[in-house]
Every structure is written in structure tokens, then in C-alpha cells.
Amino acid sequence: MPGVEGFMYPNEVSLYWSVLIVLYPFITGLVAGAFILASLERVFRVEAVKPTYRLALLTALAFLIVAPLPLQLHLGHPERSYEMYMTPHRTSAMAMFGFVYLWYLMAVLVVEIWLDFRADIVALSQSTTGWKHWMYWAMTLGSANVSERALAIDERVGWVVTLIGIPSAFLLHGYVGFIFGSIKANPWWSSPLMPVVFIFSAMVSGIAAVMLLYMALMRLRKQPIDMRCVDTVASYLFYIFIVDFSLEMLDLIHRIYEADESFRSLDFMVHTRLYFSQIVLQILLGTLAPILLLFVAQVTKLSEPTRKKIYAVSGSLALVGILAMRWNVVIGGQLFSKSFLGYTTYKMALATREGLLVAIGLTLLPLLILAVLMKVLPPWPEKKHASIPEAVAAH
């Protein structure tokens, strides 16, 4: 730290975890949430949300691929990050997170997607030519066995993978919360509720994102939206939102009641620097408004177009709210001094390595990857009927 000497806490000089570190839990949250939505369908066999099943899996993969990028851009020496895998440090939460990530990516998501799409991949490897043929052939691992029995085995194994996947998704995002919640030097973060709040907010954001994506994609493809599906997804969103909100309020009430030595300082912060992002964006617009809208859609009989509009608005608001929540956690936790004697400001850079433009790029990149993934592995059942043997369609 050039020019800094004497009695200083690091964040009195500058804020080290930038907007990219805000993005990181947001993106992993979308992954975990989208996956949990897919798992609900799979494990509890909820037929209604089937149209979003494959989309949710691909969304989770697209966002998971991007998840480590904000961290890499934040690192001073990204080229050294692989050392985390070479020399595992068992007592460091951040170092172990690399393994949680790898486990989730390779053992859960990729395997589940592969099992689910295998029949399509085999069909595609037979119907395409040239490099595409070779690409799909490589993805079949050279096995074209899509017999009824083989697919039944896939179904069974896929179910087990999903079952393992649910705790893994909880682990993935609970871990992100744990990294904050376990920092005992920071009263804004240090709370055992943190991982739980992170998981539920992740589910909210993931479900909202898949719902929005589904509606947007259907619109783009000029196909009717399956309202039974969207209604069910929206009701999930509603219930989980309520749990999430209660947990966050529980955390808040607990802090207010406990009112420990950090309270005055944090309270001041919430009323000043974080007023807009916490009270207005996160709580009023990002949580209460969508809960109210979803509630109205639940209890009244509204027409289809109105419901669609309500879902689109509440889904978008939910995403804004969750992003604001990540912001308030990450940036908010660095705004005050450990001495409780003063506050810093965070000025977001525009075109630097950790600036706003990069953050916007990283938010859009998963959508681009998702578009490519959907080209390679079409998630829609229509195509499935056209190219897949009867055995699969029966499933």
C-alpha cells in the first residue's frame, strides 16, 4: 500500500473487493438456483415444470462456466490460480472452494446433462455430417447404444446424480455464503445465517432467471408459453421468496435486538450509504414488490396476458433485488472501518480490469454461452420428437 503507514485498517484506504466480487456470488447463485429448479422436477417428478428442465440445466452450465471469471479478473496473478488444485490447502475455505466448484461442474452438471441429452447426441451424430458429426460423435464417447434398457439405466443413474446434485448445489452456494459468514473480523458478514440466506436467495434468483429466460425464448421462437409450467415455477418462486425474506428479516431483527458494539455504525450505514441499495432496491423493490405481485397472481384469477406481465416484472425485480443484496453484502461489508470510526466510499471504475464495462460483459457472457449451448444441444421437446427413437419419447 503506497503512502499508507501507521494505524490503519486496510479498507480505510481503499475498497478491495470490487463490483466483480459482487457479480461472483450473483452468478454462482443463478447456477445453484437454476439447478435446484431442475432437480425439483427430476427428483419429485413434477411434470408441470418439465418444459424448463433442460433449459435450467443448460442455464446452470452456462453461468457456472463464467462463475470463476470475475475471480480471475480480480486476482493479481491469475496465472497462478491453478496452484490451488496442485497443492490443496485443506484449512483454507477459499482454496477448498476450487474443489467444490470442480466437483459440481464435472461430477454433477456435466454428467447430468450428458445423461439427459445422450439420446439426442447419438441421434445428432447420425443425422449430421462433417465436423459436426465428429463433434457429436466425440460427445457420444463412441457409444451409440440408445436401447430402451440403456436409456432406462441412464434415467436411474441420472436420478441418483440429481440426488447428489441437490446437496452439491447447496454446498456450492452455501460455501459462498460461508466465505463471508466466517469472517469474524467483519460484523456485517460474520453470521451463521449467511450461508442459509445465500442459498435461499440463490434459489430465488435462479428460478426467476429460468422463468424469465423461458418466457423470453418462447417469445423469440414465436411459440406459445406453457402457462401451467410458468404458473408452477412462479408459485415456487413465491414460496421460496417468502422463506428467503423471512430469513433476511430474522437476521435483521437479530442484529437489531442484539445491538452489539458494531450496531450503531452499521445502522448509520444502512441509513446513509446503503439506503438506496438496501432499503429501496433490495427490500422494497427487489423483495416486497415481487412478493406482493406474485401473491396477487396466486390468489386472484387473472387473465393469461396479465399473469405473464406480472411474472416478467416480478422476475426482473427479483433479479435486481438479489443483485442488490450481493452488492450490500460485498460492498457494504467494506464501507465501514473496523474501528467503527468512519466510512469509505466505493467509486466504481468504468473501463478497468475490474470496472463496470467488464462487469456488464461478464453478465452478458453467460447468455452468449447459453445461446451456443442451445445450438449444440437443443433443449426443446419439439426437436426431440423429430429425431429421437420412440423409446425416448415414451419417457
Partner: protein, 165 residues
């Protein structure tokens, strides 16, 4: 054996994972330094490398062997607990060869405020001044003797002592 045939693709997948794991383990055996983990979660050989760096600080005992007068003054004053090199910077080279390496004198305008400038983050009972108001730009050592800074101490500069203790 139909099970094996129908689950063949799963065995291929398992094989692929096994191969991947083996591949990474192989790379790892090349990339991880030989002495890693010898004593702890770091490269054992690093200790010898770091130990081989020339020392930059001599330590106050070394300074005191030659500068006995300063050491005595300091030991009696308020700066008794402040290390020589906290103010003079690393001086191992000077201690090794005093005649050719001159450490120079610290600039008190920068040095003293580093520890004494009033700041809300400092412990309340630590002596602090608002340098601008306090000295009005006059160098601190005009009134304070750096090695025994309390005003009125035996060695304080005549300009500020103004009497006996």
C-alpha cells in the same frame, strides 16, 4: 452381462474421468516443487533462499554498541521503546561499514507525523498533535530532541527547555 453392454457408455465415461484424474496427477507431479510440504504448506527450499537474503536491519543492540551516547539518552526518554531503525530505516550496511555508508538524518517533517499526527483511529492515550497547528512549520527537532522528545527532559534543546525539569 446385458447390464455391462447396456451400461457400456457409463463405463466409458468413468474411464474418461479416470484418465482425466490420472492426467492431472501426472502434470501435478511435474509442477509441484520437489521440496513442497517438507515443513508445512510451502516450498521447503524457500527457507534457505530467504535466509540467504542479505540482512537489511541490524537491530538496536548493534547500533547501541557504537552509539552509546544516543542509546543512553533514548533509554531515559519517552522514545525508550522505539527502535532505532523505526526512525532511521534499515541500516545494516551502515552498521557493517560506518565510515563509507552514511545513514543521513531523517527528515522530521515526514518522520514524526507518521506516528504522532492526530488521527481518530489511534488509541486515545497515545500522544498526538495536529502538526500544522502545533509546530507552525518549524522542524520538530527545534523543540524536541528526537531521542528524548519530552519537553523539559534533561537533553531537550535549549530553545524549548526554558528551565529545569
Amino acid at each position: 452381462m446385458r447390464l455391462f453392454r447396456d451400461a457400456g457408455h457409463l463405463f466409458r465415461l468413468a474411464g474418461l474421468f479416470a484418465f482425466g484424474t490420472l492426467f492431472i496427477l501426472t502434470i501435478r507431479s511435474f509442477l509441484v516443487p520437489r521440496t513442497f510440504g517438507e515443513y508445512g504448506h510451502y516450498r521447503g527450499a524457500a527457507i534457505a533462499e530467504v535466509a540467504a537474503h542479505p540482512a537489511r536491519f541490524a537491530g538496536h543492540q548493534t547500533c547501541e554498541t557504537c552509539h552509546t551516547d544516543v542509546a543512553q539518552t533514548k533509554a531515559a526518554g519517552k522514545h525508550a521503546q522505539v527502535n532505532c531503525e523505526a526512525c532511521h530505516g534499515p541500516q545494516a550496511k551502515h552498521a557493517d561499514d560506518p565510515s563509507s555508508v552514511d545513514p543521513g538524518k531523517p527528515d522530521t517533517a515526514v518522520l514524526c507525523v507518521r506516528c504522532h499526527e492526530a488521527s481518530a483511529a489511534r488509541p486515545k492515550d497515545f500522544p498526538q498533535v495536529n502538526a500544522g497547528d502545533h509546530s507552525g512549520g518549524v522542524p520538530c527537532q527545534t523543540c524536541h530532541q528526537p531521542h528524548s522528545p519530552a519537553i523539559g527532559s534533561a537533553s531537550a534543546p535549549a530553545s524549548a527547555a526554558g528551565g529545569t525539569k
